[in-house]
Symmetry: C2
Subunit: 328 residues, 2 copies
């Protein structure tokens, strides 16, 4: 087991904007040990009043879209040009077939990793989506208490993480390649409609013209789609991380969005609803974890699943049988 | 309590394609009484081998889109022209703010209601989404065993029912009005991306030209969006229930879809995955119902929710407190 500290250590070091203390606190909230969870709750309670003061941005895109280079360019803009402290958190649950690990490429985001204004934290290996989303959500708050003003939450765009991320960020950014060809197949349905902005990446050289066409196409397509309750119409822009173009425009788009939603109660309401979402999601996840850990369920589930798949037993009868076995 | 019959009565009457027996069985599966659920499971087990032989079509659209007249025209085509037996099931949980009840208008679908080839069943009043979706799903199987070859599952398009319906049908049809104006606001985000086909309704008179333009716009927009694993690209068509145009085209579209997905394992796989989905969904729903029915939870939840909303307690700490109180 990793070394643990008294609750005051974590809180004091975080509020002193100390990176080592922050990293240790994140390691603590990533743990699922009951004793660690209890300590983590006490730490969270102490830092809670100091959290919330950041712009939380979800960034997603399938492997090949140039996500790392984009985040590096955007991150260096946020830190170097805007002078804001940036934390980058990655969600990459290993239980999912992601088709490309965020963490696989150790050399990625080299300049950002060496940037003193930036803090990069990959998600822990071997955790379920439920575990990763909880710890990411708590890590956001820890980073905010540690003085980070902009938080990127990065996902791979092919799993179910995006719905979870959408419930923890203020603004959801989708990276796409020009052309509606095969590269689209990797993106999960429904993600497009979550996007507050779409960025067509690699808009340089021979790709530039194609990217411009794609921008116009996506912009008119998104106009046809249901709008958010805030009235915000998703913006489409083009960017080249290579030539460092289109980066400041994205920040401006996020600024316009924040201006719209903060001019009224929408921003605050969204964050409050997200808090409520996580209360219920956390209960749901815990109840399911307990259920599926019951020895009787572990023993009988595969067999009943097969029967349901083959149509020999109805899904509802199988569920009832398992519920009775679980004694919950 | 409504009158109940021996399990054999329900199974025999359904397999004899008797409407009264079917209606009584649906009333049974709509009940949440433990004794009724037990009886329902036994009925479901008996009819299960005779279910599955229908085309299950989800139809959604916001109030004002002309859903009732469309379903009536499409339903009469299915029954009168194609000679197929049709069951129409409606999902309209009263716990949601639907902005317009499916059942409110008693005079709707008059010709279909009087059609001997058609069977119309609204969802029970006062039930939660979880309750309605379970009973709808079981009703689909009962209708199939009773010889219905086409099933429409109808929703209002503004709530969360559509995700549930998408998990119980083979084909998901979205009705839209021409023009991307205010009428779009009512549709929930994410529904568009579920659609296997979009029908622009009221394509007659002065609306016809606008509907044609909308068709072209939506068709190109949907091309840009992530495609289904089946490779199917959603089709957009126009229809006038008033002039009875575009109705046979929709049936042809559904035919093309079925040809594509049945030419391979996709159709069967989708249904199997849906079965598995309902096994897990049913467990989830039951565990949550039990949790939120605990007196300690009922007593403490509102207060803790307020604290979470105000940011005084973290969502995860509040969840843990409730879980401990629940003794689950």
């Amino acid at each position: 087991m990793a070394k643990r500290f008294p609750v005051e250590y974590y809180a004091e070091r975080i509020l002193a904007h100390d990176r080592l203390g922050l990293s240790r606190a994140i390691t603590l909230v990533e743990s699922t040990l009951p004793s660690d969870r209890e300590l983590a709750h006490r730490v969270m309670d102490l830092v809670l009043p100091y959290s919330g003061n950041s712009v939380r941005i979800g960034i997603t895109g399938v492997p090949g879209v140039g996500k790392s280079t984009f985040i590096e360019a955007f991150g260096n803009y946020v830190t170097n040009t805007l002078g804001k402290k940036l934390a980058v958190l990655a969600i990459d649950p290993t239980s999912q077939k992601t088709g490309g690990s965020i963490l696989g490429d150790k050399t990625r985001m080299e300049t950002l990793a060496g940037n003193k204004m930036a803090y990069i934290r990959p998600s822990p290996a071997g955790q379920s989506l439920g575990g990763v989303t909880r710890s990411t959500r708590e890590s956001i708050m820890l980073c905010e208490a540690a003085g980070f003003e902009v938080i990127f939450v990065e996902t791979v765009g092919v799993g179910q993480s995006e719905t979870a991320v959408n419930e923890m960020v203020d603004f959801f950014l989708l990276l796409m390649l020009a052309g509606a060809g095969d590269e689209l197949q990797g993106i999960k349905k429904g993600i497009m409609e979550m996007a507050d902005a779409v960025v067509i990446t690699k808009a340089d050289g021979q790709n530039l013209q194609k990217a411009r066409v794609a921008r116009a196409e996506y912009q008119s397509a998104l106009h046809l789609f249901p709008h958010a309750a805030s009235g915000w119409v998703p913006k489409v822009s083009i960017s080249s991380a290579l030539e460092n173009t289109g980066i400041s425009e994205i920040w401006k788009t996020i600024g316009s969005y924040l201006e719209l939603v903060k001019n009224g109660s929408f921003f605050e309401q969204k964050r409050q609803n997200q808090n409520l979402h996580w209360l219920h999601e956390s209960i749901r996840q815990t109840l399911l974890d307990r259920f599926f850990a019951k020895p009787e369920v572990v023993k009988t589930l595969p067999e009943l699943e097969q029967k349901v798949l083959k149509g020999e037993v109805s899904a509802f009868a199988a569920a009832e049988e398992l519920l009775q076995l679980s004694h919950l």
